[in-house]
Symmetry: C2
């Protein structure tokens, strides 16, 4: 493992200093190579499918795992899209001249070696590999056991393209030891790895955060709220609430708790209950909500639960401050929204709520790298530091200062 | 400890949402309070001095510890300067409208709760407390045992000003348990603390990096190089080399190794040796250097040493690529410099060398928050993520996205 990581580290400057043209050409070559090797990919993928079937995996899991001609084409197109993104390296983030007449430029540079740990879908291997490559980083990929053969053939094909371009195949490669022990070793290798991005189950993320000596960018839970203020436009409020909860209940930017201002509760709650009824949403309300519309009683534990299902808590509050206090207590600082036509209340909510994304009059479902305009997404960070919220290729860069002098010495 | 940290966390939103005017007024009040309480401070400082003397601390250490009227005034002035810095919170870092016509703004916000661990000089207590306050963060301070009484009285006085302004004194306070066990507990409290900044000895930094579950911004060693290219202007080369090594040999941005291009070595080495001779610098050269000027032979271990003293390694190379390879192998990615008049070589060096600060024709000694124009400095980060290089108050902020909609839902 250590010699592998050493090789990875040593190839970091090679990918970091490739020209944009070369990177994009290689990414397009990789796309072509995936399509050309569709048969090889499908053959290996079949082994994962057979193994999964013999282990009785659900049909949903099998579908996540499956690669056919269409899906390989879509993986290739995703690489072509990543190639077409704006160059993330070398952006001048700031620049100024200091008192000593030094010209100081703060420019984006690759992070170095990025390890990404993820599960099931094999297309993540090519997507994340390509995102790291585009941003000038070495990618160390650790996929799920269930997609072992698929991930291996995809990484091999990308590696073949790298080698055909006189680049070390370590620039995109799978962690050689993908066991638990392998991961345990990896996350202590701060000498060689600059960033670990765990995507997947809560247990895995917790374990890595607690044990890694390498900086971790987490993609943790999303416990998101929508607060309907007394000056809300009812149509917007209902549309946004339904969308935030029901559009895709299983994702991190879906709403878990709807907060309603007491002043309008008797008016809007029945309308909301009707709209959610159409969606088959299981509603749980606090005692005040239950005085207006009867539903299951929401407990403290409910307010602390990320359902990832079509279930919604409803909480009644006296004021925007109460709403904010509830969000501070239970929110995961992912995405929070207010619906209001009141300018001052909107500004107050935007400034008081500390979350990666704070919305006025829009669904929390918009928290997404693609929707934000970042192109392909590495994930959604619940970290406060380095990257917060949707992570695109720019978030796979850090910065350095370039300082241009003409002989200055410090007095 | 946990209830203290909980209180700290709970007061985070109070300091985060203060107006710039209030923050600056309170910082000026704190400055006045320090001056008004000079006597109290000196009395407590005397206890630290007595204890230090009875423990036989060096006179240099005693001087670092000493607070007199002049030094208290200078601490107060430092707070006034911090008050006068440009507001770090609420800067719009980026802003755009996405395809859904959502107006997205990326704005700077406080990090939350910042713990800073440092040694000796008691003025760090007021400086770092004020920097955190200005940037809207709660500061948890852990100073050295040797300055215990001094730190306590300074924190108490700042806390009195906070309370006089109806703010919880937890906004700037000392870690209640400042023992090793206290620190060990603190760095596992990721639930309450958002960032740990260790300043001080290598051992401490290593221990915290290895054991913290909270993100750490390190202020690690500086093993800095200056490369004199064959197209260097000799006067600039010699002035910059002398300044980088001898101006303050004990600091992290001082040069440890001078790299000289073979083409000009026989010409410039004797001149350099003479100039360093005047400065009393102990020179250690590789075998090729020794063929031109006799000096102590530099070993591999020497090239890997941060001397923090007036000692310099000299290495001869065949090319800019050799120089870069040496820097990659031994450098600490802190500050690296090239001296050259050649445009292409300068650009190549700037782009190939990955360090917080890369210089052309200037001394590495300029790596400093004050010199960069950041005002007071939190430190110099050797992290790759979050903050890299000089850290000012802007580096004590993170960001969030504010999203302004008019009823958008995701399709």
């Amino acid at each position: 493992m250590e010699s592998f990581l050493k090789d990875a580290k040593n190839s970091a400057h090679k990918v970091a200093t490739l020209t944009p043209k070369d990177k994009n050409r290689i990414l397009n070559d990789m796309a072509d190579a995936l399509v050309l090797n569709t048969k090889r990919i499908i053959t290996q993928n079949q082994k994962d499918l057979d193994f999964a079937k013999s282990n009785g995996l659900s049909s949903a899991m099998l579908d996540r795992l499956l690669l056919d001609e269409k899906r390989v084409n879509s993986m290739a197109n995703s690489l072509r899209e990543i190639a077409s993104l704006k160059e993330p390296v070398g952006r001048v983030l700031e620049g100024w001249i200091n008192e000593d007449n030094l010209r100081i430029e703060k420019v984006s540079v690759p992070i170095g070696v990025v390890a990404v740990i993820y599960e099931s879908r094999p297309n993540v291997t090519s997507d994340v590999g390509a995102l790291c490559f585009k941003s000038g980083n070495v990618a160390i990929l650790k996929g799920g056991k269930e997609a072992e053969y698929s991930n291996k053939i995809i990484a091999t094909i990308l590696g073949e393209v790298l080698e055909a371009n006189n680049l070390p195949k370590e620039i995109i490669s799978l962690l050689p030891d993908s066991s638990r022990e392998g991961v345990a070793k990896l996350i202590k290798m701060d000498k060689y790895v600059d960033l670990v991005v765990p995507r997947g189950g809560e247990e895995l993320i917790k374990y890595i955060s607690a044990n890694s000596t390498i900086p971790v960018v987490k993609h943790d839970k999303g416990l998101c709220h929508t607060y309907i203020h007394s000056d809300a436009d009812y149509k917007k409020a209902i549309d946004i609430s339904i969308n935030a909860k029901c559009h895709r209940p299983g994702v991190c930017n879906a709403m878990e708790t709807l907060i309603i201002d007491k002043k309008i509760a008797s008016d809007i709650l029945p309308k909301l209950a009707e709209a959610f009824g159409v969606q088959g949403t299981l509603l749980k309300g606090d005692s005040e909500v239950n005085e207006i519309v009867k539903m299951e009683l929401a407990t403290e534990a409910d307010f602390d639960t990320e359902y990832l299902a079509n279930t919604l808590n409803i909480k009644m509050v006296d004021s925007v401050d109460d709403a904010i206090a509830h969000i501070r207590r239970f929110g995961s600082a992912h995405s929070e929204a207010i619906v209001t036509e009141n300018y001052s209340v909107a500004e107050y909510f935007l400034n008081q709520v500390d979350a990666a994304c704070v919305y006025v009059n829009a669904s929390t479902r918009f928290t997404d790298g693609g929707v934000f305009g970042f192109g392909a997404e590495v994930g959604i960070s619940t970290n406060k530091l380095h990257a917060r919220g949707p992570m695109g290729i720019n978030e796979l860069t850090t910065y350095k200062y370039k300082i241009y002098g003409d002989g200055q010495i410090r007095a």
